[in-house]
Symmetry: C2
Amino acid sequence: MTQLYNKVALIGLGLIAGSMAKAMRRAGLAGEIVGHARSAETRKTALEIGLVDAVFDTAAEAVKDADLVVLCVPVGVMGSIAQEIAPHLAQDATVSDVGSVKKAIIDAVQPHMPDHVHFIPAHPLAGTEHSGPHAGFADLFNNRWCLFTPLPETDRAYVDRLKQLWSEMGANVEEMDAEHHDLVLAVTSHTPHLIAYTMVGVADDLQRVANKEVIDFSAAGFRDFTRIAASDPTMWRDVFLNNKEATLEILGRFTEELFDLQRAIRRGDGEQLFDHFTRTRAIRRSIIDAGQDTNAPNFGRYPKEGD
Amino acid sequence: MTQLYNKVALIGLGLIAGSMAKAMRRAGLAGEIVGHARSAETRKTALEIGLVDAVFDTAAEAVKDADLVVLCVPVGVMGSIAQEIAPHLAQDATVSDVGSVKKAIIDAVQPHMPDHVHFIPAHPLAGTEHSGPHAGFADLFNNRWCLFTPLPETDRAYVDRLKQLWSEMGANVEEMDAEHHDLVLAVTSHTPHLIAYTMVGVADDLQRVANKEVIDFSAAGFRDFTRIAASDPTMWRDVFLNNKEATLEILGRFTEELFDLQRAIRRGDGEQLFDHFTRTRAIRRSIIDAGQDTNAPNFGRYPKEGD
């Protein structure tokens, strides 16, 4: 039990905040955990299920005396929350976030931060298709990465303490430049999500195929898309609006490649298709070897008889 | 224990044939199960691990006296196998297949079938990213669909017996027209696979992002694409070459939708993005309700510490 912070304020009480609260408790990392959520119902639930020790009606009240404040709100409101809490932040408080884009958040938050606090942007690469205060669980970050994009002038001692927090919540930690982070995530997350959202929309629209057929016969591949296309709409809207450049770049490359494979299909070029499909297998193997997925058939989701 | 067939010949001994053999054994559905695979090594393995009771060097030998022959080979070789086995098929044998497209298989196989056999095309919607004789397991078909596209003139008694076999192997069964099947699968399977193959290829190509980053940070969405992009390249090459029309139609719609969302990102139209992302959530819910996926976070694949 290494208590790293006396009082942690979580602003926004959804999947990530809930999982952080549970992971911090499990390892005794925080003296007290308090929170704020915009919705009165979420605040009530969070208190009832013991997600936090106290909730506050405003973010400004929640951050009072906190030595760690974590912004767990959609990317689009980070700036206004930062502005709201700024005058209430304690001396030497660490302010961090869990947003999926980093450059836009730095641009929105940093200008509001007073000199006596340490703003350290971070992004845990973990999530599920569930959201809300009930969705969190302590294991969410185990063996997942948390990426830090600290500003060059930040006091290293504060960065290191925050990295230790994430390590002790189970995550692997790494630092990179905010712009590079946004490009990497455009590839590994943002573009795949947009594509999945698109494909699920196409299936939903297609009048010649009944929705019941799409749903019943989804095990043939489609369902893996629906999982990521079920993620929180507000969060994803904000991701795309705030990582526009990198997402559009990767989408451009994706479309180019897709047209190339489409042309191979139209021309009946089996060799090109085979070569492409062979190459992509190796990447899968590496992801399993890196411990970022399971090798079990169907991710181990065997349907049981009578399910 | 209802034995439905005296002797079943499986032509091709990969994931589907292996799972069929195990599922038939579990329910005592077949008197004897024999097989053929093109590769001597696969034949040897299949015999050693008891996948089949006997293996034969040629498909022609394997089908002798069989009352059920199931073609479990890539779509592209169905026709030549049909031609090879035709003279050796027993009186009133049922010949079926497990191919992912149906119209092209009917066109390739049916002309070779003698009048004294019953050709009943079928397609179990089940699979994993693994292939080969070791990949099969008895539960693969539990609560998955097996689609039948029988020809109108086929004797119903033989169709019903084959449907019973699949039911007793754990599957739900349904009949549809071959052309409709190919369109439904283009939506639920073929196009999603092509998109996943494309995205994984893009990530692999991108020089500004290291492969190690793509792999380490894949949990943010990308890894769900890699699973389906790790499927058997030969099988998928043949699927696209043999369901060209429907796949290209769905790809066209997909690209149209993608461009529309891409434009919304470029213009910063948050409302359009939010509306689209909200709509797709409902489909996910229906798939879980239909028992075609698990609601567990991460499909229940919690990484353990030290993994």
